[in-house]
């Protein structure tokens, strides 16, 4: 089975304190660690597991500047056979819709049985690229997938709904699935593995290579244009408890006592 996995190189921000940069449209990147988008990490692992079971190839593909190479190297170290990076300075300012167009232009000429993406990216959280790419490719799709099994010409997938509920769908192949976190346990990549992947080639394609024009990409080819970022207004601010850990702990205990919780 030939599988294409779309990945994104993003900053890890879950536990970082973020500052908006001078342009007002981005965050300050200094001090942030960049890595493969968490959802994509699960998608890549799922692709490699399917390859290990049924044979075939895994191709990792991304839209991003040179910095994204480290994420592609990680994919190669994890078991991807090929890596493709799509970038052109004219892409700058692109949204999820333009990203899907760019991916489509490269993928339409490739052979695949399955396309996997993360259910969303941790930076913009759009959850758009996968289903739009499926529409362009003219193949069925399912989003937020937590389990994949294969039957004759089809896949049986579990989709995550709300409140712990899931639904099972039968989807004709070839298809595109967006992968939800928790579907598997992504394997650990050794430094050795990454070093070995350093020798593998990353194919880089630009605007002309994929047959798109300037108007298809960047802000001009996007649905959504960013105006500004700002820190969310605080609706209800917590009362902060300060002091040494012991002092803070004592204050918490007083609060709990006053509420009859101790």
């Amino acid at each position: 089975m030939d599988i294409i996995v779309c990945v994104k190189h993003v900053p890890e921000t879950a536990e970082a304190e973020l500052k908006i940069d001078a342009t007002g449209k981005g965050i300050e990147k200094a001090g942030l660690v960049f890595d493969i988008n968490e959802w994509d990490d699960y998608a890549l692992e799922e692709a490699v597991r399917i390859k290990e079971k049924f044979g075939g190839t895994v191709t990792a593909i991304t839209v991003g500047s040179e910095e994204s190479d480290s994420t592609l190297r990680k994919c190669l170290a994890r078991g991807a056979d090929k890596a493709i990076r799509l970038w052109d300075p004219k892409f700058a300012g692109l949204d999820a819709y333009a990203t899907a167009k760019i991916l489509y232009s490269a993928i339409k000429n490739m052979h695949f049985d399955l396309v996997l993406t993360g259910a969303q990216a941790s930076d913009d959280g759009s959850a758009i690229v996968g289903p739009v790419l499926a529409e362009f490719l003219g193949i069925p799709h399912a989003t937020m997938v937590k389990k994949i099994e294969f039957g004759e010409g089809k896949a049986i997938v579990n989709r995550e709904l709300e409140g712990g509920l899931e639904e099972r769908l039968a989807v004709k192949l070839p298809a595109l699935f967006t992968i939800q976190t928790g579907i598997n346990e992504p394997r650990y990549v050794s430094i050795m593995g990454i070093r070995k992947a350093m020798q593998k080639e990353i194919k880089v394609l630009g605007l002309a290579d994929i047959g798109l024009s300037e108007n298809d990409v960047g802000e001009a080819g996007s649905w959504l244009v960013l105006e500004k970022l700002y820190v969310p207004p605080v609706e209800k601010q917590a009362t902060f408890l300060t002091g040494s850990p012991d002092e803070v702990a004592a204050k918490i205990v007083e609060i709990l006592k006053s509420r009859g919780l101790i």
Binding site: T13, A127, E135, L161, E185, F240, L241, V253
Partner: protein, 330 residues
């Protein structure tokens, strides 16, 4: 008259809350641009839903077909494409839910209608259609606008708007439309619902919950917080990443894809406060959060906050609780 479409979401015989939240916001917008508020309802044997929606909308478009009995985005896309092409609504609202995420992006691409997802606010501002959405797990808000178009589409975050029933009810007309689905949908078929496995612990019944998130760092740190929970007479709950990593079973997960809880105390340790988690715990009676990041969104939903490493607070807190309990006993 120009229309605003709101797609009604329902499952297993229930209209979902997001439907009414969207209708409430859409009513505000229709007032501003003098538009007709149209609820769109697809399904089978759902006339009761249509009557309920009519109280919130100027018109209800009802399409009934057995192929629409269970949600299938391919079937929905075919029907909605037809309705949108015929009615040309200025705006179509769909919930940013498991159904909306499956449906909206592909529908928008097929019709070439600009779409913004997971929006917490939006509206027509002069010549522009602007949206507010969150980035980086809710740490930053983004103001953006959609490329100029005759028609826009938005998926709306759950609980971003509070439902208000129009007084008096709008009593919109229910218009039944023959289903345009002529053939079976074969690309994608609904098979069944899969219920979550019954768990050993019912966190919704606990008075005290100690919730842990990414900040717990490693599975080996769980016994420490478990002990803290026990000393408070409570149980351990968690945010999504802890379940994804397999450190706690899924019946401990709080949030949109887990449980909604309202304990007397929710002590959040190392939880940043992404909205998916917050929606499941914000109505707790008392919320105390410990997080290293002073700007973590969790602090805007908490009564008390501690900006500190949880590994310093937890041992100190355990000591003070034990002291207090010993004093009480004596």
């Amino acid at each position: 008259m120009v229309e605003i479409f709101v797609l009604a979401e329902h499952r297993q015989g229930q209209l979902r809350d997001i439907t009414f939240e969207m209708l409430t916001k859409a009513k505000e917008l229709t007032g501003k641009i003098n538009a007709c508020l149209t609820a769109v309802l697809l399904g089978k044997n759902i006339k009761e839903h249509a009557k309920m929606l009519a109280e919130y909308a100027n018109k209800v478009l009802l399409v009934e077909d057995e192929k629409l009995e269970n949600f299938n985005s391919d079937a929905y896309q075919k029907v909605l494409s037809r309705l949108i092409m015929e009615h040309k609504p200025a705006l179509t609202l769909i919930g940013h839910t498991s159904y909306g995420v499956e449906l909206a992006p592909r529908l928008a691409a097929a019709l070439n209608i600009p779409l913004a997802t997971d929006c917490i606010d939006f509206g027509f501002e002069g010549q522009r259609f602007t949206v507010t959405r969150q980035m980086y797990g809710g740490k930053v808000n983004a103001k953006a606008f959609l490329r100029k178009s005759e028609s826009y589409m938005v998926t709306v975050r759950q609980a971003a708007f509070q439902t208000q029933k129009p007084q008096p009810p709008l009593n919109g007309e229910i218009e039944e439309i023959p289903s345009p689905l002529t053939e079976e949908i074969t690309t994608k078929r609904f098979l069944e619902y899969v219920l979550p496995p019954p768990g050993g612990v019912d966190i919704t019944a606990a008075d005290v919950l100690v919730g842990i998130g990414r900040g717990i760092k490693d599975q080996s740190n769980i016994p420490m917080v478990e002990e803290l929970a026990k000393s408070l007479g409570g149980v351990l709950a968690c945010s999504r990443p802890i379940v994804d990593k397999g450190w706690l079973p899924s019946d401990r997960q709080v949030g949109t894809s887990g449980k909604t809880v309202k304990p007397k105390l929710y002590l959040a340790l190392g939880i940043s406060g992404a909205f998916q988690h917050v929606l499941g715990m914000k109505n707790s009676e008392l919320i105390i959060a410990v997080n290293k990041d002073p700007k973590a969104p969790i602090f805007s939903f908490s009564d008390y906050g501690v900006v500190e490493d949880l590994f310093k607070i937890v041992p100190a807190l355990k000591n003070k609780i034990n002291e207090a309990k010993a004093q009480k006993a004596a």
